[in-house]
Symmetry: C2
Subunit: 252 residues, 2 copies
């Protein structure tokens, strides 16, 4: 039988194994039937963040939620970048965009943080999760980044693991250029070394926040050039540079 | 007299010199009066892409367009990155976003190109220019990137200057990782060396397009890792890596 290429890719919560079946949600069923216009027998790829990616086929059925018949594993689960992004949320459309791009750029964990100059205090976690799932499905990741509840910066720093470098994007010029920081051996080099990136709101960090950050042994302040980048641009730029210089773009 | 910080920053077409005045457009006047809530005597910074940045003050006046009284130069004109971005336009909101981010990331010239798999054939140049101007005003640039008319890829390549490296973001894995390409001496290192980046539409380049690119001495194919990036993500990621590794982020 000739190989049929999966026409859609879905993240599901259930365990995956050959011969089993998976019931989709109403939203996923709608997407397959009415957006992708697929029907019984069409191939769909599924992943759950734990057991790789599997080929499945849409089962026979009426108008209710789709059931997928799971066939066989097409990609084993792999180690992915251990890269966190702590970011001060900005207005809704820009935060949505940031979550989508951070997912494509391989972030493993997203931590919305409130800082002194944060203009936005409300974060809709379910909305951000939906964007992360959609981006993970689209970009071929085998995981969906974990999205934490929004938390004040001080609390995030108190719980930050001491062995995880935190690269702070500092607009005041108080740090070395990012390429130099990433070239240093101890800056979270390679997949194995845990790293995090912190970006502030429009307006940057308060002087007292920068002072507090400087007191932490795992913090490195770094800069992204002479122009004033929007908050989400700084986050995406830092993630791209990290992947290119020390992450999984180096090998491909 | 104590220094008043400019509360707004505007790009204008007119020549700038101390003691002169500049008439703003209706849109700029509305922005100053009704968005920024500024009035007569308030400080505004202006730049025109040729003569640096100047401090000006809103003149007295009625309800018509504002006139600015230009005071003195606060930043001289500087050399900026000689970096072009040729990109296949995507849907409207994502192209708007791409133009905004490319401006923040220091692109000097934007070339919308139509490729074989381009899904979007309409590009509103005036709309893209407005986004570029707004982003340039916001990020502190002294220029606004030039936006060319949308053109088929083959025509762009025919006119491409032979001394300008063209880094082609190739999803097929047919190139070296970007960090390695940028580390090579001839890859457009530093401000002085002209460079361009080319990104395709969703779906990438056609095999015939990649073959044609390979025949050109100034082309280098390069990759951005194992995940499938959206078209605008690939463009932004490549620009950020270029600025960080060989552009104006290195020195700051």
């Amino acid at each position: 039988m000739p190989e049929t290429r999966a026409k859609a890719r879905l993240y599901i919560a259930a365990d995956l194994n050959g011969g089993g079946s998976v019931d989709l949600t109403g939203g996923q069923s709608h997407y397959l039937r009415h957006v992708m216009r697929l029907g019984a027998g069409d191939a769909v790829a599924v992943f759950n963040g734990r057991q790789g990616e599997w080929k499945a086929a849409i089962g026979e059925g009426g108008k209710g939620p789709c059931r997928l018949e799971v066939d066989r594993q097409i990609r084993p689960q792999q180690d992915e970048s251990d890269l966190w992004l702590a970011f001060a949320p900005v207005i809704k459309a820009r935060t949505d965009f940031l979550v989508e791009k951070a997912t494509e750029l391989g972030v493993s964990r997203l931590l919305p943080v409130f800082t002194e100059y944060s203009a936005t205090r409300r974060v809709n976690g379910a909305r951000l999760s939906a964007h992360a799932v959609e981006a993970a499905e689209q970009c071929g990741r085998l995981t969906v980044p974990c999205i934490e509840e929004a938390t004040p910066l001080a609390a995030v720093l108190r719980k930050w693991p001491g062995d995880r470098t935190l690269l702070v994007m500092d607009e005041t010029g108080g740090g070395l250029p990012l390429n130099r920081v990433l070239a240093m051996d101890d800056a979270g080099k390679g997949y194995g070394r845990p790293c995090g990136i912190l970006t502030g709101p429009e307006g940057g960090f308060a002087p007292s926040e920068l002072d507090a950050l400087d007191d932490l042994s795992f913090v490195k302040r770094t800069g992204l050039g002479p122009r004033i980048l929007r908050a989400e641009t700084a986050a995406l730029a830092a993630l791209a540079c990290w992947q290119s210089m020390v992450g999984d773009w180096r090998d491909s």
